[in-house]
Amino acid sequence: MSEAVSETVAADRGKQSPLSLPAAAPAQAAELSDWIALLKPRVMSLVVFTGLIGLLIAPGHLHPVLGFTAVLCIAVAAGACGAINMWYDRDIDAVMRRTRNRPIPAGRIEPGAALGYGVTLAAGSVIVMGLAVNLAAASVLALSIGFYVFVYTMWLKRRTPQNIVIGGAAGAFPPVIGWASVTGSVDLLPLILFAIVFFWTPPHFWSLALFANADYQRAGVPMLPVVAGARETRRQIVIYTLLLVPLSLAPWLIGFSGLVYGLAAMVLGVGFIVSVWRVATDRQDASGVSQTNDAPARAAFKYSILYLFALFAALAVDRLAG
């Protein structure tokens, strides 16, 4: 599941993890905040939100206790992925400016303890989902954890600039899991939501990669700006956004949602296109390096988060009010 949100907020605020406490704070609170930081809570918020929307718009009824359990399992699984990711990436986290204060590279939590924590939470979330909700939701949850850990973190991230394109699928599962929690199956609409998050991930993550390029270069992570340069990355951001915006209209065009969602998707989409067009036309030197400290990329990154939240919120409002 995408780690961009937490990483960039940390980057924007300096070197400290968002949950780090001042040195004078009690040791107990600092200890707990480190274990919470391992779960990447900022990433979790987006995952929980899209999972909740998938659950809310699905046809049928799920008891509120079971609905809460399903969302909790999605959140815990996302946190488990974050902890396992931090365990595996502890070597590159130690050399990247914005991640070197994370609990493992900073030496506050043992790598083995973090791995055990992540694996326990991952297994627990799948087992509870299967026993309390249904097997379909548990299966998709297990698939998303496996995809994030083995396909994205261990296989793609350090090998190809397409890491976040293919690996982005891991972050696209939550609406499908939410839907499956209610219906016990997977239908066309959750697959469209999956595709929306899938196509949203590259412009979101590459905007981050543009202004965090030095960190990725230092760590040897083959992000697109490192491998293909900033100019090509800006071009790819525009292409994926132009694919995403028409796709975001699909729920309205095929009659799954009404005009409220259709209009929201259009307005938000135009905003996204304008935002990435500014990235593409950013003042840059001959090699494509930004002369504005990547201000348009930073703005596009922030807008991409707002875009996804607002798009999914519009879908829920439309379905629940309609």
Partner: protein, 40 residues
Amino acid sequence: MARDPDDLRRRRARNWAMLVVLLALSALFYAITIVKMTKS
């Protein structure tokens, strides 16, 4: 084995956190059981 006060504080914090998590899980499993029994 002797431990420094900071270690003891950290261990105590972990124990309290585990207690809270276990109590919350117990309450959740109880609620799930009641819902499942009511449904069936």
